[in-house]
Amino acid sequence: MSDLFIGSAVLRGEDPRLLTGKGRYISDVAAPGMLHAVVIRSVYAHAKIKSVAASKALAHPGVVAVYTAGDLGSAQMNLPSFGQFPKQLMNELRPLVREAAVTTLASGKVRYVGEPVALLVAEDPYVAADAVELVDIDYEPLPVAADVNATKVRVFDDWPDNVALDMVVGKGDAEAIVNSSPHVIAEKFYSHRYTGVPLEGRGCLAIPDAGGQGLTIWTAHQMPHFNRSLVCEALRLPSFAVRVAQPDIGGAFGQKAGLYPEDVLIPFAAHKLQRPVKWLEDKNEHFMASSHSREQMFEARLGLTEDGAITGLTYSAIVDAGAYLTFPVVLPYLGFCHLLGPYRIPVIRAHIQSILTNKVTSAPYRGAGRPEAVFMLNRLMDLAAEELNLDPAEIRRRNFIQPEEMPYSLDLPYRDGSPMVLDSGDYPKALEMTLDAIGYERFREEQREALKQGRYIGIGIACNVESGGIGPVESARVEIATDGTIGVFVGITDTGQGSKTSLAQVCAAILKVEPGKVRVSTGDTAGVQFSRGTYHSRAAVTAGNAVNMAAIAVREKAFKIAAHHLEASVEDLEIHGGDVRVVGVPGMKVSLAECAKLALPEASRPPGVTPGLNETSYFEAPQVVWGNASHVATVEVDKDTGAFKVLRYVVLHDCGTVLNPIILEGQVHGGIAAGIGGTRLEQLKYNEEGQLLTGTLADYMLPRASDMPSIELLHLETPSPLNPLGVKGGGEGGTIAPPAVFAAAVEDALRPFGVRITETPITAPKILAAIRNAKVKA
């Protein structure tokens, strides 16, 4: 009975509100006397700021203030970075990491188009938009580092080059072992720049408390507690004086994580002016000032035996980091970690670099370094299959880590310093299930027939592991009100993925009530004291288990109170339908509402029981947990136009215990759509001057309904042994494999031409060029 509601397709409680226009997003939140802020951004990719003249703007009716770096006092600061190696791991790996911190406002120099230079505050958003044009900024343009090969331009003047991260990591004598292998596959790969683009931009509303002692901040942000720490440091306020809370959030995908200048600027302005100040990111700003991702290049050598068993892998990876380093090691190191499964790679050596350029800063976007690495790894597997004349499915079978080897230690540290151990999973079965579903052998026959008719169809496979649920700790508080309503309070944010409903299910399963009776508050510093927020597929794992623990603790307290009240023994009690009752004695029961009343300070509580029916619990994650996925797609390529159509897409996603299958299904669908967009449509393209050429939603194409194939979703549930719920992360999985799958499928379709796909995006012009190049070579 403990899993009464876990695994059920419970409809989301938040939906009726969202469906009727009663959602309350940051753009909908208002406060009396609210002012509107606009960030004034650099129009140059690299320039000295000679002067900022705001007098004309300040004279414009309705303009309240213009701030530049010099006006900010303690709020002009280096913003913290995230996901750094812990000290011990720094000592072990000894990476070169240079500090390239974002500052609140640019001072002296700008390093990308879109970098905040000033903040303008006005009474009305239309007035603000007009007044921005009246602020004169005098720049002295500098030469631009448009890519990682720019050697003559220094993004930071006092650096010897633009290398922000440089490290070597691995195990075994990979170089020698690969070089002496019977087969070596050597290739370069490139993943292009694209990013999350939630339809709702970032934004916040900062409201000063009466008396100017603190602030309440509503923000579309994934990490409210970190945001609070930042504001407190900037404004020299104690943590309890600032409340940061999320309204409904219109998607996030990693781009609303980390800390941005606006997270300090808007609270600063509100605190300074003692009036509510609101800022909403528009889409123009989004493309030029919210984090980018994915741009990474690889050069790899994969060694294999005559039988196709991997002997080892050596590679170098370079991340085009953009202008600053906000997540110093996350993208390339997460990539490295995801090369170690699901295929057995006995020895590995990686040379990892992040190099600064005059572009928007790179940071995690759904997948966070995984899609790039998984692209390289699966492409290498396909190229190896070709070289060894093996089927792509067969070479994978020969290299999978087997289920009976679980837990499988990878003998390397994860980025948080914990040991990397694949906790559970059945990779061979996952692949076989997808191959069966798509009819792999039959497809090969269809392919031969199609070719006779001049049709080019192909199939691609990609398998990957996927870490989730990073610690160290997440907390939850469960409280029962005197009317019997159950409240769950967590600091992780619900950015649309349905955490409120999933967590309600976890709590309901323990307290044996309908999930609809549980109200969940997410992303509020007033809810719990500590939280790290939502990122790294961690909400269900860390907050889910914390809620589970807190609900158990509350149940235990309710039992103590009920036992005292009913004059029964705790051991004889059970919970059911909102009541605590004595097993086998009808009528001997007390409702949870009554228990809450009996826990009031003035009530007669049992000895040693503190007032209030609420408990806070902390889930400490021993290490990340590892899900896995197997994706197979078939495509038809038009060799004359380069267009390709997805015929079928089959995916198996194993993320341990499923809390809610429809929510998980939605996550996988959305992840695949993001992968399709990234592979086929979305491109952040810059010119040599560092100007973004694709900075509107008309130029940066997101996938639409007609771009989607139907998706056949298969389930395999291998619970994690590392947490009581057995859950793993589900949010990022769908996004990781699509680039590799489509590259493989297109390449397979065009095998008669000998085409090799080693780069994304995969667009019609790129396919035409690939066919042309292959013909030239042949």
């Binding site: 007009d130 136009t641 667009t763 019609a764 035409l768 060029a769």
Partner: protein, 293 residues
Amino acid sequence: MKPPSFSYLRPASLEEAVVALCESGDDAMVLAGGQSLLPAMVLRVARPSVLVDISSLRELRQVEIDDQCITIGAAVTHNEILHSDELASAMPVLRTAAGWIAHYSIREKGTFGGSLANADPASEWPCIAICIGATVHVAGREGSKAVKAEEFFLGPLTSALEPGEIITHVTIPRLDDGEIVVFDELAAQHGAFGYVLVAIKARLVRNRIKDIRICVGGCGGVPELAMSHAEEFQEAELNEQLAVQMAEVTVKRLEPDGDRYIASDDRRQMAAELIRRNLLELGAKLGQGKLGA
């Protein structure tokens, strides 16, 4: 992203609209559907001092079909064309092309005349208008004038419209027996800017070419009428080989630009392929008796 301030006029007649536009100075602009103009204003690329709203003028909203020609008012929307069975039966390609334009609610407001006035070389209507030999009728202070579509587009986002002039309607000659028009487009995504657009009007008799016009959009500053009569292909039999040959001849006359998404050579190759395919398709359609007229 908010538009700059402007004054707004909503004249009650075309005549008033012309006067309003002329008297409002060179920075005044016509507002029809606003689906290209308003984004430009929000991005502050366009900064009209005055907008003269003609979207509800009855004179500009007529659709007429007679024996000689089809008349489409400038303020007729893309979706009105898409959903008009009369237009679709008179000239099916109008429905085909309308279906390629942006998305549902853009097509509800965006207008035929507005698209021509905007003169985007990768837009559907300019390419079609040139191919089918349309005439653009314009009202101005000096009276009205008629400009052939192939002379109307002067460069990217530049047309033959003078300040103070408003497109009133477009006339399109009806198709003769044996004539057909086809339109096709290659784009990264349906509704997005096309890599290449191709419109072909042809007259065939017993599968032999009597006359042909091929207009290619997206391959230069204006849609290019790369073939305007049958030339050496007069009387040639339309088959696979000829289609390839004609496509080659046609694309040699194009000077496509590369852009952030596509290199000029790829554009040329796509254009050739679209032409080849659509020549064969129109041949097949005529052969099956699915006449364009």
